[in-house]
Amino acid sequence: MTGAVLSPNGAALVLFGIFFGMMALRVPVAFALGLACLPILLIEPRLSAVTLVQETFNAYNSFILLAVPFFLLTANLMNVGGITDRLMKLSRSMVGHFPGGLAQINVVLSFFFAGISGSSTADAASQSKIFIEAQRKEGYDDSFSVAITAVSAVLAVIIPPSILMIVWGGVLTVSIGALFLAGIIPGLLIALAQMVTVHAYAKARGYPTYPRATWGALLSSIAISLPALMTPLIIIGGKLFGWFTATESACIAVLYAGFLSLLVYREMDMRGLKDALIDTGKFTGVALFCVGTASAFGWLLAYYQIPRAILTGVSAWELGPIGTGFFIAFVFLVVGCFLDAIPAIIIVGTILEPLARSTGLDPVHFAMIGIVSLAFGLVTPPYGLCLMIACSVAKVRMRSVLRDTIIMLIPMLLVLALLIVWPPVALFIPSLVSPEFLK
């Protein structure tokens, strides 16, 4: 009941100092965030270590975060149940004859995958296993293979459905239906940018090409994939027609993927199911545990009213909507290098929201800038989950793939810039389908 021991500046110094220090000592990020909170919780007479426990509990006790295990499970079921195989054949008959055919397939498969699952890390994990070894055999450079697999995986959270959109919509009360629709064009543009990049690489380095598939083969692979390709329509349609809420849509994705795997494609056995469930649980654990300690960290920032201080400083610059858009993207890109996307939304998204509102940025537009920037954070070092996963599957160091990753990011960053200066990239489809979603 007496005053705070630490000043806001002192508290910020302790929080960020210990967090970065611990990360440098290779303490896992989730634990580094908790350790950063600890001294403050112990020093301040008004707080205690129980606050850390309580805040992590509050974070996990959330219906919205259920989307994370559901989308991971969807992805795992797709892999063990033969859905991924069918989509792979379809991608091959569509783009296999382009220069760098296998790498083009890599991008297009991620595009299809993105329409079903909302988890990029699940995409990176499954496609690293499929593509990296295969590309190695066909003479692609390792660093190229790892980089393209990782950057194409980010499509999964930009193209609906998306874990990040569900979390963003829940945390900042934006219509998740509108976010789903807003992600379609940026996702298409980024996939196109990646295909162009692959084309340029393939021409320069002479990567191989497959023979063009016949029209018959293309049609038959479309027919076989059709039930799987229906998933995005079911999810987005169900969301728009009011069959279920956003989190529930992730559960529908699980049920549909399970239905296809067990009854339509019939490739899943008990062992496959068991593996899918355990993998999902393990990954949910490590991915969401981090969200809990990050929430405690964010809660302490709010307790000392640090965000308010930062925001007053930035507001004084009086950036216009476009300037603010670039500033927001920059902040999220930097934060994305060190923090996972969901905790970043919880900590940083809530700080920036008043700023975006004050400059008149549309909430859906603001959300898309944030989500796309954070999606890129999945492949930026030192903490880029998709890149880390692809590297570990390929058994290469992250620094050896940095150059190619950065080259591939450049055209993607151009799409982000376009999204910032030209809002219709995000807002056109939502305004077309359901203008009432936009304020």
Binding site: M1, T2, G3, A4, R46, L47, S48, V50, T51, Q54, N58, F63, I64, G169, G170, T173, S175, I176, G177, K239, L240, F241, G242, W243, F244, T245, A246, T247, W299, A302, Y303, Q305, E436, F437
Partner: protein, 306 residues
């Protein structure tokens, strides 16, 4: 020893009646105490949501005072949601009399015993109505209506008894859920309808007046014990007065807010003809509930007030 510092928390911004009541509490306590006193009010859900404020107050950490909906106290005391149960009050006058006579004291005592949180004043006074995506004027219109209710069993039981189909959905998903047609309606007082912009998706307000809110100003028992005696008295006094102030703001703002929204063409108030019929259906459920939590006497006394 440094200056005493008390932290309050509100989910809402400066314009909201709860934030105003808590600010008033701070002013009243300071001026009554006369000695230096720092009051820090965390607004805009900075420290989380009401449910968490209550847990923090119970632990004696971080938050010392806050307005918390009784529904959020139910994990500590099953009787707590009774304070705010639907169909408890006939009208504002009835509600005022119940509060003036302090009839809810036994429940406040139970909460204090179980959670170590004191209810030092009663704000609230918003009349809750059903906002719905189609016009609803009588019991037939209500039949089978998918309506979101608060997460306390008494709410789903009473609404089900009235023939509706109550659903529990997180408060921040309600707007999306109505927009998408997952549910057709929700229920809230004017301040909530305005704050969450529910009128955008559900522009019809069926004036069921099924509840008049009571929002206790809660104070951490653990903090209270550490305060000097003169400040303790000031906290009690300020709590009572700030509660009365908050009731006065909200009950007068309530109608004004609805009128303003209606004038701007965003909302249509629809008279509800069957309130008595609805109450008849719900009364047995309320009686049974009161029996379950041992509040039969209180219910009887409340009903006896003319």
């Amino acid at each position: 020893q440094g200056i005493i510092e008390l932290h309050g928390a509100s989910q809402f911004n400066d314009d909201h009646a709860f934030t105003k009541s808590l600010a008033k509490f701070g002013e009243l306590a300071s001026s009554c105490y006369g000695k230096p006193l720092n009051i820090i009010l965390h607004k805009n859900s900075e420290l989380g949501l009401e449910k968490q404020y209550f847990e923090y107050m119970s632990q004696g950490r971080a938050v010392d005072f806050a307005i918390v909906s009784p529904a959020h106290m139910s994990t500590f005391s099953k009787a707590a949601p009774f304070i705010d149960a639907p169909f408890l009050f006939r009208d504002l006058a009835h509600w005022n009399k119940v509060l003036d006579q302090d009839l809810l004291k036994p429940i406040a005592d139970e909460i204090a015993a179980r959670a170590d949180v004191m209810l030092i004043g009663y704000a609230g006074g918003g009349t809750r109505n059903i906002f719905v995506n189609k016009p609803v004027a009588n019991m037939d219109d209500l039949k089978g209506l998918k309506v979101r209710v608060q997460g306390a069993p008494i709410w789903s039981r009473t609404f089900a008894a009235a023939g509706m189909s109550p659903t529990v959905i997180a408060y921040n998903e309600v707007y999306n859920a109505i927009q998408n047609g997952v549910i057709g309606a929700g229920e809230n007082e004017a301040a909530g309808v305005e704050q969450m912009k529910f009128f955008e998706v559900a522009p019809n307000l069926a004036m069921t007046e099924h509840a008049i809110t009571i929002r206790p100003i809660a104070f951490s028992g653990k903090t209270f014990k550490k305060l000097p005696a003169d400040l303790q008295q000031c906290v009690i006094k300020a709590g009572k007065e700030a509660g009365a102030h908050g009731r006065q703001i909200e009950s007068s703002e309530d109608t004004a807010k609805l009128e303003a929204l209606e004038k701007a063409g965003r909302l249509k108030r629809i008279a509800f003809k069957d309130r008595d019929k609805m109450k008849k259906l719900v009364d047995p459920v309320m009686a049974e509930y009161a029996k379950e939590i041992g509040a039969e006497d209180i219910l009887k006394k409340i009903n006896e007030i003319k």
